[in-house]
């Protein structure tokens, strides 16, 4: 029968996919202290995250989320939501997709890019909390830095290209058109690309 074969992802992913934790249920009241929404449906994934914060201790006490996304997106956000409860805002801010991936027992390389929205949404929710509580000074913006001036390509776009599978400079150029005019950004782009490959794809 169907269950005799290994599932397409790990058992942990399967468990989170079947029973996603901390989902905002239809009609559920959840008085959030901070809220973040990232991604868009055209790209195939969108993530919303709401957090409750213990103001005295700066600790995340509860969390709810919703997603428009695939099994990897659902499972990784569910796992992330369990990880952040009880964490300080500072610590929660530092959670990376790799931490979530480790928790899940590993996603296939081509699914890593589906798992990077949860932590982005969480950081957006944390920043939203700071903003609403007059702590604008704590907001950490993830501002994009232009790497290729000719084609106006940012470090964020390089990271996205890596998540989408670029592993060589030529593949990076194919995906972003970076370095196709004067070529001065080549060394910096390669350095960034290798950094992102290490960040997202080296085994834990």
């Amino acid at each position: 029968m169907a269950d005799e074969f290994d599932w397409v992802y790990t058992d942990v992913v399967k468990d989170h996919f079947i029973n996603p934790r901390n989902v905002l249920k239809p009609g559920e009241e959840f008085a959030a202290d901070g809220e973040g929404m990232v991604g868009n449906m055209k790209c195939g994934d969108q993530m919303m995250m709401k957090i409750k914060v213990d103001r005295a201790k700066n600790i995340i006490t509860d969390i709810r989320w919703k997603t428009y996304g695939c099994a990897s997106a659902i499972a990784s956000t569910s796992a992330l939501s369990e990880m952040v409860k009880g964490l300080t805002l500072d610590k929660a801010f530092l959670i990376s997709p790799k931490d979530v991936n480790k928790q899940l027992g590993g996603l296939p390389d081509h699914k890593i890019h589906c798992s990077v929205l949860g932590d982005k949404a969480l950081r957006a929710a944390i920043n939203d909390y700071y903003k609403k509580n007059g702590q604008d000074n704590k907001i950490q913006k993830e501002e994009a830095r232009t790497i290729c001036q000719c084609m106006n390509v940012t470090d964020h776009e390089i990271e996205d290209a890596v998540l989408e599978g670029a592993r060589t400079y030529v593949e990076l150029q194919e995906k972003t058109k970076l370095g196709t005019v004067c070529g001065q950004c080549k060394d910096e782009a390669i350095e960034l690309m290798e950094g992102y490959i290490k960040k997202h794809f080296t085994k834990f």
Binding site: M1, P26, Q46, Y68, G69, A71, K111, H113
Partner: protein, 390 residues
């Protein structure tokens, strides 16, 4: 553990017909090389030629117009690879190095098109309408006296839309171009007659019609110039080198025999089941739309889009209920873009991400369809409950 195990992915592949299983089992001792002159070889040759006759008869061709290949993909690659041939050096081509194909072809046609474009041929793509029908007037506009080949699939694998191949072939021939159709999804699901369609090349695959994987056939009209893709042997009259897949070919012959018997009634039955499925989903699920042509569509294919959900999660939740379908979502393919077919019909990107293809076949029952309606309703609700769009 799911209550039922329901296979609704017949456009991906089909299970072996029981009669096909039998003939494979009965033929396991046929090991001779069909090219050998001794009795072992002649025994295999006889069976291969019988199968060729059956496949040819099934599509209204003469046996010498059909040769066996390793897959539908190989047949399609073979046809397209002839386009850049030099008329000075290769007998198969004229000086026409332009090809026209459609935007909704199978990737093996689209990738081959890109490749021959790199090798000096010019490729142009026919757009389709909202139902996935190739715009016939566009072919009239694009075709010139430089067009060597027009290649348009008979029926689409994702949305089931059936093209007006006869008219398209007429236009091609009127300009002196050859016409190829990838009929992998059509042959075995609807009547196909190469003489009636008047095509020059036609591609068939055995595993889409309850035969085994690893066997296909290419029809090449008598008198049409030809150049092989796989070289280095005289097999298949020099048109496809490599020792024949004897067992696969024998099984292929049996599979088309069974299709001749079963296809007409089955088509009616599948169409009825599709109506039940469509109406059931429409009744239970809001924000739902159907892709493909409402009438000119394969009887067993239904492609549906659900608003606010992503297809891979639907596919995997259904799998947990024992139901096998496929999706046009990017996430299930490992690429970032959803189905090129659905996008070509002009539906919004998010509708393509939320698409599911249900393709039924000879063993599909009404009970299975009702079970699928019930589970699909639950699964879409579950995914919508956690969706940001709802």
């Amino acid at each position: 553990m799911p209550i039922l195990r329901v296979y609704l992915d017949h456009n991906a592949t089909t299970p072996l017909h029981p009669e096909v299983k039998k003939i494979i089992a009965d033929s396991l001792d046929v090991f001779g090389n069909p090219s050998s002159m001794h009795s072992f070889g002649r025994e295999a040759r006889k069976l291969v030629e019988e199968a060729r006759g059956k496949v040819a008869h099934f599509i209204g061709a003469d046996p010498e117009e059909v040769f066996f290949v390793g897959s539908g993909t190989e047949a399609n690659n073979t046809v397209l690879s002839m386009v850049p041939c030099s008329p000075n050096k290769c007998h198969c081509q004229t000086a026409r190095h332009e090809i026209i194909t459609s935007t909704i072809e199978h990737p093996c046609i689209l990738e081959s098109s890109k490749c021959i474009d790199n090798r000096g041929a010019t490729v142009q793509y026919l757009p389709v309408d909202q139902y996935g029908k190739v715009k016939v007037d566009q072919l009239e506009k694009l075709i010139t006296d430089k067009t060597g080949l027009v290649s348009v699939m008979t029926a689409n694998n994702e949305i089931g839309t059936i093209q007006d191949i006869k008219t398209l072939a007429q236009i091609a021939h009127h300009s002196g171009a050859l016409f190829h159709t990838d009929a992998v999804q059509a042959v075995g699901k609807m009547p196909i007659n190469v003489k009636n369609l008047d095509v020059d090349f036609l591609t068939i695959s055995a595993h889409k019609l309850y035969g085994p994987k690893g066997v296909g056939a290419l029809y090449v009209k008598k008198g049409v110039r030809f150049c092989p893709l796989i070289r280095g042997g005289h097999q298949e009259k020099g048109r496809r080198a490599g020792t024949e897949n004897t067992l696969g070919i024998i099984a292929f012959g049996k599979a088309v025999d069974m299709r001749t018997i079963e296809m007409p009634d089955e088509a009616k039955r599948l169409l009825k089941l599709k109506q039940i499925l469509k109406q059931g989903l429409q009744k239970n699920i809001s924000d739902i739309s159907f892709n493909g042509h409402p009438e000119d569509c394969l009887p067993g294919t239904l492609n549906v889009s659900f608003g606010g959900v992503e297809g891979e999660s639907i596919l995997l939740y259904l799998d947990l209920e024992g139901i096998a379908v496929s999706t046009g979502s990017a996430c299930a393919s490992g690429s970032l873009d959803p189905s090129h077919v659905l996008l070509a019909t002009g539906i919004p990107v998010e509708r393509a991400h939320g698409s599911i293809r249900i393709s039924s076949g000879r063993e599909t029952t009404e009970k299975e369809i009702l079970y699928t309606i019930e589970k699909m309703t639950q699964v879409v609700k579950k995914v919508r409950d956690i969706s940001t769009a709802y």
